[in-house]
Amino acid sequence: MRAPISWLREFAHLDASVDATAIYEALIRAGLEVETVDHVGPDVTGPVVVGRVLSIQDEPQKNGKVIRWCRVDCGPEANAAATEPAGPGEPGSRGIICGAHNFAVGDLVVVGLPGAVLAGGFELTSRKTYGHISDGMICAEDELGLGDDHTGIIVLPPTHADGTPLVPGEPALPLIATSDDVLDIAVTPDLGYCLSIRGIAREAAQAFGAPFTDPAARPTPGEKHDGFPVTLDTPNCPLFVAVTVEGLDPTRPSPAWLQQRVKMAGMRSLGLAVDVTNYVMMELGQPIHGYDGDRLNGGIVVRQATAGETLTTLDGQLRQLDPEDIVITDGSGVIGLAGVMGGQTTELEADTTRVVIEAAAFDPVAIARTAKRHKLPSEASKRFERGVDPAAAYSAAHRVADLLVELGGARKVAAETVAGSVPPMPEQTIPADLPSRILGHAVPAEQVVAILRASGVAVREDPGGLLHLVPPTWRPDLKDPYDYVEEVGCKIGFDVIAPVVPLAPAGRGRTPAQQARRNLTWSLPAAGFTEVISFPFSSADEVDRLGVPEGDERRALVRLANPLADTLPELRTTLLPGLFGAIARNRSRSQDDLALYEQGLVFFGPAGQAPIPSVEHRPSDAELAAIAAALPRQPRHLACVVTGNWRPAGWSGPALPADWTHAVAFADLAARTVGVTLSKRAADHAPWHPGRCAELSVGDQVIGYAGELHPAVLAAYGLPARVVAAELDLDRLIAAAPGPGQLPVLSAFPVAKEDVALIVDEAVAQADVAAALREGAGPLLESLALFDVYRGDQAGPGKKSLAFALRFRADRTLTDAEANAARDAAVQVAADRFGAIQRVA
């Protein structure tokens, strides 16, 4: 909503010392979102005067253009100062070159003289052009900063508004534009009444304690049907005022002030009748529809549309109507989409002389739904959606009629129609101290009453300290007790409320799971991984490219009804594609050595149907359970990808290329950070390399996978060879962590070290051999570590030798015999289980 300050001042009688900035600040304080204050007016300095065109000489140019060489009377002073004055005996004038052709000899025009600085900082000088000295400029709108119009020269009317003639040489700017400041306000949905000068002026007056003149003060008379016949046949239209004017002179133009106001308010000037209806809508907030009275066919009936009906709206679109649409009809059928847009058959035409003026009230929700259904947000629907003051309708209809009489030579028809009535406003009761209690600032009862009365609320105090409140018709937003609290708060200003930090009860800090995740936030980067965030949008095609088999839960995609991209209509079930995208983006920017990770939710279908319980009270346990059951499972995952070199070649040594161990190490680190040890076994799981994929488990619960990616997947994504990745169910991993843990009693006795090398089949996993050794070694074993893997002649074909360092310790010094016995027992289990043969040096 754009509100010129001059217009506000017509109704808010602010002190002259209150400037635009003060109004801007006061309105913001009162809760209006004023975005900017724009100064409008001619963007010009220096001499700009009225000139009379004395002669025109058309001079065709080589480029096909015809320019005009004019002599223009610019007043005696300017004429005398001309570079090439008029010849002796000729009337005083200056010579000016002009490219436009929309003016004639004798016309009054706006002349910029040398020294004037026009819009955009263009300084005029006398200059030689087209073979003449052009001694000034005949101006169009855009050159004066009045608009974008460069279609033609401004031709001034012959007289001032009071009838006195214009004189060449007099200043021209006051004739064509007034200076003003315009507030640009983003009106919140609750403040529909501020989509009018009336509403904003009321707020401004209240903010400064200034008197306010209500421009919509005519009381709405009781129902009468003297004028144009109107029948209301839907509860969604409680009031319809019809006032008729006749004898409109359709040739009368909009006066400059009206055009300017309409333009300043952000609309286009479209002729007198339309400008007037728009002007009144801006001023009073009441959308107006004007019908060509001679093209109406019988009386108006307002009703709900019936299925199958159509209407061609003013924009030329044929609309299929819905029974929820409110329509205006006459004998010919539907002639308008109520509160949204009129139809073509009855619109005001260039020859309209009889206008039936509609000012009506419509149900906000119905209008909102119609505007949305037909994708027709209009100035009218925008207002009706937020609530229009029904008590202003009668004033608005008359204001339109009066202006058409004044400016268009029309006559107002005395007989008028008021169908329906202004609906009563709902009463609410609040304790007088409620605003103080909720705002945290003492507002005495008498101040609460005074504020609300100033806002138009009818207040009845009762001795028990209760206030019985009825809002004014323009404030449908005042319904609940807290609405009145807000009204009081806006009027005292939130800035007077003292800030107080509330004292929360002792908190427990982060939950164990939150603490685990915050630990990961820092441990993973410390180990060399960089976190990225990507969008969770995916597709079935994505899952195909990953090679995910049928029946895998990652194929249970949740589909969006309105995806942002048709190619990504579903939600991710794995984080890997997002990380692949990050690899591609980084590589495209010449960053090839990458260790990336992401944590985020993945979504496994199916989705169920969630109920929408009442909001009047807490939902039942059954309803809450139904909501929970409808939600797809959405665990938090943690994933990494590593590609290129883990460590690039450098001064300290050759490059260390990323390999599957980095993915496994990432998983191990994540697990260790949250307090879990992972067990691993070889697995064949997409999208990993079937021979280089570790299934990661805690106990018998699979937590995720790590290893090198399948070459086919890398090819499908255009990724380099040997990218490695891990993905874990982070929720499960954290849940698997045992309690706080137990610290050991440390033995200070010496350790007994025993190394063993075991030859096993190539297919036997190190982890299984280690587990066997651990089991066989018994309680004396302090630690066990693999320190060599050997393949070659001494191991034999198809075999490998695994060398382990075992450390034994107890609460006493172990004898050699004890350590040897424990070692032999360990080897024995490995031998029994895997046929492991101890290699003797």
Binding site: L439, E486, V501, P502, G507, R518, T530, V558
Partner: protein, 365 residues
């Protein structure tokens, strides 16, 4: 090794002993290296050294003089050993100092044990934001991102006809009749908190939220919010102001804040929270010569929305509005990051370029 008995007995007189001590001390002092000192030691303090031979010869002295001679030789040996030890220490220190010089390295060479890693700045900032509130005794609440419409809209007093529920604004699960959405704010976590937790409630809800926005320099369809909710007896708008002032002070230091009335369905009264423009500090207001692009010369920049929890919302969660009141606030984490760290383009936050994450050394401090 015992000395040969055939050798003539050494002189044990004081002058001889003093001379032996002097010779030994001189030899030690003359040794320039550990190796030379070792040779001098063998010559003057070793088994065959004259002083050792003298020592052994004490037993040949008349018993009456044995004590005196013994004391003389003992003192001489002690003096020699002391001189040796002192010289040893001296040479050791010299040689260590010399070795350390040769072992000098260029400590500015870059160590490269692990690559450079970093959390995402959004994650780091949310971590810090969580600390601000847990330090006040608040707790951190979380919830699903794919959420029931009732939790995301209805319970928050956004009725069935609210414009935010349009498919142009909100991402819905297919079919629409499932009434499931990608949450458009973290407010459904507030609803879940009020349904699940005992009163009073002091929580913040950080998390990812979604809008059906095109992806450009200022919009992303998935972004992060931090919301706060307090429900307790006697909660006022003043408590909201105090909390936001505290948060602003921690996040931005010495900047002014203001709240001004606004409208949200889930709060009443509602307010926008503004920060004093951290670039122009308000100086651009009314000064067309020096416009501020950060605040559009308004002097203030919007940080987030807030207000007193609408009693309709409390009622939908079964909270007695005659006893309890509450406040809530919410702000964009990306926006906060832009303010604190100057991130210019929203796309950088989600495109995964490692330079973005790695730029904030030490995370959000």
């Amino acid at each position: 090794m015992p000395a040969p008995t055939s050798a003539p007995p050494p002189a044990l007189d004081a002058a001889t002993i003093d001379r032996l001590v002097a010779e030994a001390t001189a030899a030690f002092a003359a040794a320039a290296t550990s190796a030379e000192l070792k040779a001098a030691k063998a010559a003057h303090a070793g088994d065959g050294a004259p002083l050792l031979l003298a020592n052994r010869a004490i037993r040949t002295v008349e018993p009456a003089q044995r004590a005196e001679v013994g004391a003389r030789i003992g003192a001489a040996r002690a003096a020699v050993n002391q001189a040796l030890a002192a010289r040893e220490a001296e040479l050791e220190a010299q040689e260590l100092a010399a070795r350390l010089v040769t072992e000098r390295v260029d400590v500015t060479l870059p160590p490269d044990l692990v690559p450079t890693g970093a959390p995402h700045p959004i994650t780091a900032l949310m971590d810090l934001l969580g600390d601000v509130f847990t330090a006040m005794g608040w707790e951190i609440a979380e919830g699903p991102e794919l959420e029931a419409e009732w939790m995301n809209f209805d319970a928050l007093n956004l009725g069935p006809n609210h414009p935010a529920r349009a498919t142009s604004d909100t991402l819905f699960v297919e079919p629409l009749s499932n009434h499931l959405v990608l949450r458009t704010h973290t407010s459904p976590v507030q609803i879940r908190t009020m349904l699940d937790r005992p009163l009073p409630i002091y929580v913040v809800c950080p998390g990812t939220t979604y809008r059906a926005d095109e992806f450009d320099a200022t919009h992303v369809p998935a972004f992060h919010q931090l919301e706060g909710l307090v429900v307790d007896k006697g909660i006022t708008l003043g408590h909201l102001k105090g909390t936001l002032d505290h948060l602003a002070a921690v996040m931005f230091g010495d900047v002014r804040t203001r709240i001004r009335p606004s409208y949200f369905p889930f709060t009443e009264p509602s307010a926008e929270m503004d920060l004093e423009c951290f670039v122009c500090r308000g100086a651009s207001v009314g000064d067309p010569e020096h416009p501020c692009r950060t605040c559009n010369s308004e002097g203030w920049i919007e940080w987030g929305g807030c207000g007193v929890v609408n009693p309709r919302v409390l009622a939908a969660c079964g909270i007695d509005t005659d006893i309890y009141s509450g406040f809530a606030f919410g702000m964009g984490v990306e926006r906060t990051l832009m303010f604190r760290n100057g991130a210019a383009d929203m796309r950088d936050m989600v495109e995964g370029d490692v330079r973005f994450s790695q730029a904030l050394v030490g995370g959000a401090r």
